[in-house]
Subunit: 286 residues, 4 copies
């Protein structure tokens, strides 16, 4: 059933009675069948969030009229509405540096059907991983970046992203801080993997920090990138046990598995339109 043509509706609005019913009736009256619905209310902020998946076969309303109709329907609640269609696959660019584990992992999962998106484009500030991209038949662009050239080179990246009609960007251990211009251009569309359990161990060399502090777990955090480094909305986190006998090198090895699975999980939630962002936090519907 899930594999048939369907739409996903993401709505945030002021909370109040009747929203679920109004949306359910709207879908039904237009000829859709609800496959999945989930909702969340933040009672302190008075905000309501919902994610609705419904069939498109025989849906009466044209695609481009769905969002405006929902906006009109819920207008007293001042809604923010997004609609996605299951046959419009998202296109992602993967930005990397020299480390290959997250790149392999994303491309393999995508090929295996675990990530329902496309990754036509790999961009790197080193040439190291060209062979990996080419093995999978993806375009690879080497865009080296220094402090001085960053703004200009990001311009090169923007062109590549536009030419390839890229919807979202994955920083797969990219090791470069993006400029505010980049972040503003792709709000809630740049996903980073931080190799630490945020908010602990922000910034550089988190495994060194963790080793020095003597923690018994190390973590990784997948988050949207915002202007404040490592302060963006967290999408997914995970940890793995460590002990006194783990050197920093052991932590790096153990951390790789974490980084791969957490980043893949964050990307999966993003491409399946499961995430709503508010108050610098995420609602992630299962």
């Amino acid at each position: 059933m899930r594999s048939s043509l369907h739409a996903t509706l993401l709505v945030s609005c002021a909370d109040g009675p009747g929203i679920v019913a109004a949306l359910a009736r709207f879908v039904f009256e237009q000829g859709g069948n609800i496959l999945d619905s989930d909702q969340h209310a933040d009672s302190r902020l008075g905000v309501f969030f919902t994610r609705l998946t419904f069939t498109l076969d025989g849906f009466l309303l044209a695609r481009d009229l769905i969002a405006p109709s929902v906006e009109a329907l819920l207008s007293p609640h001042e809604p923010t509405v997004e609609v996605r269609f299951s046959d419009e696959t998202k296109r992602g660019a993967i930005l990397v540096s020299k480390t290959n584990h997250c790149l392999y992992d994303l491309l393999l999962r995508q090929e295996a059907g675990e990530l329902c998106c496309e990754f036509p484009l790999v961009i790197a500030n080193h040439d190291t991983l060209r062979g990996v991209a080419e093995h999978f038949g993806r375009a690879f662009h080497h865009v080296p970046i220094t402090k001085e050239t960053k703004a200009a080179q990001e311009g090169v990246i923007f062109e590549l992203l536009e030419r390839e009609r890229i919807d979202f960007v994955v920083l797969a251990r990219y090791m470069q801080v993006l400029t505010p211009a980049f972040v503003d251009r792709y709000p809630n569309r740049v996903i980073n993997i931080h190799h630490g359990f945020l908010p602990a161990f922000q910034g550089a060399k988190p495994y060194h920090q963790a080793h020095k502090r003597g923690v018994k777990l190390i973590g990784a955090s997948g988050h949207y990138v915002t202007a404040d480094l490592d302060e963006g909305p967290i999408i997914a986190q995970s940890v793995v046990p460590v002990s006194h006998s783990d050197s920093i090198r052991d932590m790096v090895h153990k951390g790789r598995d974490l980084e791969k699975s957490v980043l893949a999980n964050a990307v999966r939630c993003h491409v399946e339109d499961r995430i709503l962002v508010y108050a610098n936090k995420t609602v992630v519907f299962d």
Copy 2:
């Protein structure tokens, strides 16, 4: 919001379009506001399951008319409907033998507000745990059972359960196999904790079996009791790592934590009306 007066509707029926919309409209038109809704479709069996929570303040329909109305509304889908009300707290009996860890755990969680039910009654086939029940101010009944007296003594238990208006029974390491008469009397209302990862290590002494096989994880399974021992629908499971250095005694110690948390989790799902049973499996809505 969740703490206000609300109803929970559990429906299984033949799948088809419009069910979600019909239920949402029904709730809205009767003056309720949907707080939570979840659904699942088993596409192979063509069965649809939903759980809907909605406010009761100002609901137009009388409580005892809600289920019949939903049945009428969905009659083409041949629904099974249950309705529960947040001010009608479930009453559970805890059956134990000599081991105290699950009994303490259930009573402490219930007192701490983690399990929204009452446990007015503890029944045991040994007198060992009387002091625990009394410490928490619960009635304790010693009903010893032998092979010969089992049927008769279960009669005594039935009387106690009825006198105390008990809705569900928890076997908290009870160590007795119930008669089919007992199981039939409380279908999907007797919860057992099996100290093994079902379907592995069914029957007696699962830790001994696990130790002999040299497994690297031991598990516990919370399930509804059916006529076939350890074959009932599984509600919750968990595992914990073990190694060659764990003796059977170590496994028993580690297993206790598992048993407590898995049983508490299964009971929590039951008392919050999150479970639908079909095809000897469970749908457990989060």
Copy 3:
């Protein structure tokens, strides 16, 4: 075998060849049999750590001569040596406030034989948990503390600890910061449970901090108390997943299980003499 009379030797010293052999020969020549040995070398600091368990039946050397003999044996390595005997059970005091879950958990585990120590004494700055201590037959002392009376009341606590010959102190959600005098008096012998994943969310209300930041895991940390609040050597940590749908109250519920298991684990490691402290970190031998 493990249950026979045995000694545990804990040694930290400058690293170098032959230490393991020297200790093994020493034990053998004195008539002991090594049951368990573990070691760790911090190659950056050049420090060697070992934990050796050996039988005492027929051991030639008197108990009080073992430590001095080992010190003499390894004197070129400037060792720190501790020896513990399996028939000299450690005596712990539990300090609590109003919350009962960690207190019940520690006393139940100790009664079940999971924690090989005694807990003869419960001290509280509120009278709330008197009934719990008395249910388990433990002495309960209500020692209320205010900012003004803290130093004086800690004096009262010291007297209680000495009168009961207490070896170590467990802060089981005690909610009071100890004075430096207390910490200095019991170095590496006061164990605290912090309800956050250190070093994230130090200080007050960690669940509120976690909720605000929107993390996807919450943690608990068992650590030795030092002069710097929440900065002491970490012994054990664990986490549990949370989501947007978990309120602060839900986090508190989930956190309780974490706090219980992490604190019990830290206490178990301490009473089994598995912990060596150095550089504000712990070596915890399995």
Copy 4:
């Protein structure tokens, strides 16, 4: 330190006093320094197991005399002795069918230095994964197998294994049952990944079995292959939660991550000489 030249000694023998001391003295007198030692006693069977790692720089005894010397030293205990040297890297063959995730995972981890072995050879009963082996520069041999040709084709495999001086074999989702001749030829040297939590769900289609039973966790088990299918000594196991909403396809996706990590973990333990087999179980030293 661990990266310097060292030997690993694995001993099983009848338990008794003085074994640790005898071995420690032996190493020291021959000029070695013990880096790591671990031991385990099965008190029911009266068997003692130990793993000792020591430096080889300046070791007096020739390599080929170490095992005989230890055998002589412990002869009253009827020991089984194995010695491995850190500069003699194990060579493994990977046998696959059509599924690529375990193959990629093993080769990537080996290249990243997480698995200290070589994988010069990939053998497959389909030609599907040739490109993967070649991408990593490994020899790939397509050896198709049918019921009728199995014995003969295993002969071809034996030749390949011998020509490449292969020490151990990894069945990375090979989907073929080996003949007893194969198993006998490589005792405790063929590692398989079973995509189920043994001993539950043995045999074919374990995810289908798990889905049908409605379990709440699925597992994977890495084990040595013996004559009895899925009955060999378990090296590593892990599980991942599933729910009613997971289809068999979802289980297969989730299972892939499990299979990769469990198989890699089992291989790592094998190539680091951490495993001793007895009574169809494993002792796996950390």
